[in-house]
Amino acid sequence: MNASPIAKQPSESWLHRCSAAHKLLGLFVLGTGLVLVQNLAVMAIAAILSAAVWVSVQWPMIRSVCRQPWRFNSLTSVRQALLWPFLTLLVLSLYIAYFSGWTQALVVLLRLIALLLLALAVMAATPVTEMMAVVERVLQPLDRRGWVKADKVALMFGICLRLMPVLLEQWQDIRQAQYARGRHSHPIALLVPMLVRTLQRTNELADAIDARGGLR
């Protein structure tokens, strides 16, 4: 079995029952609010509440992991998915702490954790097609003026979500292939094959969309 912080949960949490439009609007409003607030206590409460929201959505997965940890042979995927965002946050916080002090760094760290957990909860509780429908609806006024193609932007949004785990897996493959040949990973040696493979995959994906009738 697989575990992932953004794994879709078939069970119906309270967040599943909200409409995609409400969830995305809520995420937008809370995100804006969190950016405007600078108070450490408020930010700490926001981070705790966001964690509670994520846990409530992912409760079936968390319960299964706790009951039968041996069934989840890919708990590493949770580590892989969470490690880099949290390491990045840590480095960013240290940078801010150096220039603006620890209080400011904590405010930024808690804000980003709250935003990340809220976004993960919304992603886990919302089918991508519903999110795409909201994006398409929101962009309709711009589409009518001929500024954007709403259906294409919505499809791009959906594909981005689909490709995240695929690209992560591809990154791991390239890194392991280099380790297997006795090479330590070098940024250029990783980036070049990653770029080439991603471009190849993009072509294939475009063909697959065309083969199924594409955007009509």
Binding site: T129, D210, A211, G213
Partner: protein, 225 residues
């Protein structure tokens, strides 16, 4: 189903991938074999317009492919070699719904078609699973489901068993045997083609051998071993 290629050539820069191909295909089961890089996938992709011929015409059921792309693609289902490149959305039923949306705007009808197809393939339990949590064999079956749920009149499968273990290979072959639609399979799995009606060998940009499997497969085994 009749597929006609009239003096078709495909060029990639200075290299000719296919040269002056003239063929009519009307048999229910057609296999395409040949060494790597021989032009097999290009040949298959011509049939639903994923590759445009540099010269000549491709006609599917009386429709000129390049002038009727949407109509031809609605008739010809295409299964890619790597399911990861074929599946566009993160969850099985969402991906199937993507292909069906233009032809079945009603959500209920779409859902019932998706359930029916998954049940038919024996993978109903995968409907709500995230794609990245599936095994290679499960992904290939899901990719086939995304094609079959659109009820194409003809199927093109590009090396469908390459990434499968023996169990999933046999399962896929059993599904393919029961399909009512005519199909064309590009493969290196020669055993798979023994029950087919016609086999083509493509090499050096042209068709080297064409006939029933009992003639073509022994010839191929001796020539290309």
């Amino acid at each position: 189903m009749l597929i006609e290629l009239h003096k078709v050539a495909v060029e990639r820069g200075p290299r000719e991938v296919l040269h002056d191909i003239n063929i009519n295909l009307s048999e229910p089961r057609v296999g395409i074999i040949g060494p790597n890089g021989a032009g097999k996938s290009t040949f298959a992709r011509l049939i639903n317009g994923l590759v445009r011929p540099s010269k000549g015409r491709v006609v599917v059921n009386g429709l000129e492919v390049q002038d009727n792309l949407n109509a031809v693609r609605a008739q010809v289902g295409f299964l890619f070699q790597n399911p990861d490149n074929q599946i566009v959305f993160p969850v099985v039923q969402e991906d199937m719904a993507f292909g069906l949306k233009p032809s079945l705007p009603d959500k209920q009808v779409r859902q019932s078609r998706i359930k029916e197809t998954l049940k038919h393939l024996g993978i109903a339990e995968l409907a709500t699973r995230a794609i990245h949590t599936l095994s290679g064999g499960q992904k290939q079956l899901v990719a086939l489901a995304t094609v079959l749920c659109m009820r194409p009149d003809f199927l093109v499968l590009d090396e469908p068993t390459t990434q499968l273990d023996l169990r999933y290979r046999n399962r896929l072959l059993a599904i393919l045997r029961e399909l009512k639609q005519p199909l064309m399979v590009i493969t290196h799995d020669l055993d798979m083609l023994e029950s087919f009606d016609r086999v083509l060998v493509i090499d050096q940009a042209s068709i080297q051998m064409d006939g029933p499997p009992d003639q073509v497969l022994p010839w191929y085994r001796t020539q290309y071993a």
